[in-house]
Amino acid sequence: MGAPRSLADCTAGELRRLYAAGEASPSEAARAVLDRIAALEPTLHAYLHVDCEAALRDAARWDGRAGMEGAPPLAGIPLALKDNICARGWPATAGSRILDGFRPPYDATVTARLREAGAILLGKTNCDEFAFGSSTENSGYGPTRNPWDPMRVPGGSSGGSAAAVAAGEATLALGSDTGGSIREPGSFCGVVALKPTYGRVSRYGLIAFASSLDQIGPFARDVRDAALLLGVIAGRDSADSTSAPEPVPPYAEALTGEVRGLRIGIVKEFFGEGLAPAVAGAVRAAAGVLEGLGAVCDEVSLPHAVYALPAYYIIAPAEASSNLARYAGVQYGHRTAHAHDLYALYARTRREGFGAEVKRRIMLGTFALSSGYYDAYYLRAQRVRSVIRREFTQALERFDLLLGPVAPTPAFLLGEKIEDPFQMYLSDIYTIPVNLAGVPGISVPCGFVNGLPVGLQLIGRAFGEATVLNAAFAFEQATPHHTARPALAAPPRADGGAQARA
């Protein structure tokens, strides 16, 4: 990296050092990122809303102070929010037309914590409608494209956040992960992406998909940044009853790079039919790297993990069918212009406002909760979940971490799976069990297949994010994959690039 890089390509850690040395200012960084957004958005469409004015105002507030002693951890760091995370006064559509025009009057807990930590909030990123999807093609506002190949999807549902961080349209971003929605796009876009333990990060202000599975987590261009961001957003929140009281350890201090003697279980069931051989190769090679660093790898079997997908597609839609009931044209968002009675108001508003995948999942979930079917579907799925949870717990007693691929393939082509929901659902086959178990999982870049990034998944014990991050950090230190940047995200033109637009 001899040549001067754009500030848009710097990590948060690098920006903090530049600020401290007086070699760059938050305003300059914000402008670089906004320029990048202006240059690439016509291609990528990672954002649904960019607030240049607010971003520059926030940035200016930290000029001269960001690198100083006592400045908060994210002072002057440009950051994007997935559009299902509320920020006061900004649109929050969660990728759905049914929330057209809705601007929440309040900040999500994570948003408030980011503001306190000094982050420059850039805007809201595109996602699959209500986070239902693995490609961001289900967005009601058009798909996001993969910075590594604009013909391909960025993954999903947090595709906008992953693409933005990969392309330098944000230094950091938040996403949400219900069945893989942080890790899969992380893998597809070649960035570090962490789904924390269920309860580690407050869900207050996250537009709910499946309440018992949803978890907010960070996207970053290296593990250090991910640890930094997690440290800001993690911790008990009295506004979320399901947030955990466990103390938040200093994650940055856990990044020693030391993995000697770490016991890693390679999940046998994650290497079966459907996994692209090249992806399997990259992931096995990654395990080899960790072994080379002194970790002890062995195979472990999670025999019930194969039932995770069907159980998930009962539990998640069941919760979603109830969570999405409020979008009915009464208080906010889209309301049909053609209602002559209450029933029509509900039916038409929802018919017009929801996309096909949302309707599919509402029907699935409604059916699963119906009287007479509840025991056979919902209750049984919950039992499967308990079994899977126990299996993970037991495996994680023998091993410090579990290892496997994030997704069966690298990024697929736009349109490739959209007509076949089941093929799309299979994209999350290695990530969903982790959500059901409630434990943390990270995707860290581990190589390329045909020029497309591939992620390695490391899974830890509940509230064992420090161990997960440290192993990912050790791997990252030993490999160059995270330093590769997509060609699309080349430094802006000498004239500074196009002006940023909102």
């Binding site: 929050a92 009057p105 709910a208 499946a210 069918s321 109830s322 009464v330 119906s370």
Partner: protein
Amino acid sequence: MTLETVIGLEVHVQLETASKMFCGCAVEFGAAPNSRTCPVCLGLPGSLPVLNRRAVELGLRTAVVLGCRVHSESEFHRKNYYYPDLPKNYQISQYQYAGHPPLATGGRFLLEDGDAPHTVGIRRVHLEEDTGKLLHAEGRSLVDYNRSGTPLMEVVTEPDLRSPEEARLFLAQLRAVLQYAGVTTGRMEEGTLRCDANLSLRAPGGPHGTRTEVKNMNSLRSVERALRFEEARQREQLARGEAVVQETRHWDEQRGVTFSSREKEEAQDYRYFPEPDLVPLVVDDAWVAQIRTGLPELPDAKRRRYAEAFALPEHEARLLTATRPMAEFFEATVRGFDQPKIVANWLVGDVAAYLNTAGQEIEEARITPAALAEMLGLLDRGTLSGRLAKEVLEEMLRTGRTAAEIVKDRGLAQISDEAALTEMVDGVIAEHPGPVGDVRAGKDRAVAFLVGQVMKRSRGRANPEVVNRLLRERLGAPVQVQIDPKDPR
């Protein structure tokens, strides 16, 4: 064959908390529409519920008072249905099914019914949130979410009640206990206590008949009336050889009938499932014990205390403790006028009679304890005669004005000034030579007639004691009759 009436009640009680069930918004009756709302009780996207600990405590108090088994772990559920007054289109409640108990189950309530007290089984006590309110006007519908998320508790009885009268009695006594326990204000008119009833008929000891559910009863009286109507309706239907249809029926207070709500009786599928936004509610023995020791004085104990400490007859003590507001009114009045027996006499006498006629509860009355105490003070000092006190009290209850104001405005203060009274006495003596002659002839009864004439002349304000004395002095009759100015007559 005589059919037996079987009644079970579902009592919905608004818990007396400062804030709502799942957010910090104030619970307030009558605030400007939608002014007591936040993202949580509006069900805005991303908002999450947090359980109100105080509401749980009040639920536990109820469970303890009703002798229920408190479950160490209970869950909340979502009851899914669409209606504009329900912002999330699901209600957070506690549903009961195998392995998922509500807050408390299996209690008993000792119903005091004359000489035959008996127990009424309590099936369950659970917590839930209230809905908002729909307002319809000029072809438009508006929603006020101030009530949305207000803490509610449902108490469900076993079908152990055998008559509409008994149902009313039970509800009144349950309400009193809940009021005393500080659980609820229990005002049916304001809707802080609501009641649905299930009623069926059966051959004594036989299997249960088909029941109907009666809703929309807004007072104790209407509960009894509605159930009496429903009982008769079912009886006639069965007598005609027709079957009772299982349905929900609404009580029409004006017409005095129940009518079918014509809701589709195919059971609505609420798709209950555990609320994933809340963690299970864990109640340990220590918490229950703490609730038990912290219970306020309940009606039974208070009644015994009144009877002993104030030497009140049993029926007066019972009336004064029938509702918490009455007992509080009594105690507050005694704080201002320290003669409990007199306060009790007036409260169970004139005050109760007025409220009864006006159809009011003591808490709705326009009189305050301080005002009643002031009036009794005027009476005690002789400023008011017993007869005038009754008049003044009536006006106080009607207008909410104080005794002092009324006395001043109407010039009602008792006249004890001898110069003024002597003038009136002389006038009466001059106008009634006949009776005056009778008195002089030793007919003492005629004195009473002359006193009455002076009272009439003074429009009741003359101090009868002084008048009596003056008349006797003037006419040379022996002074012998004493009139107690404190006697309200």
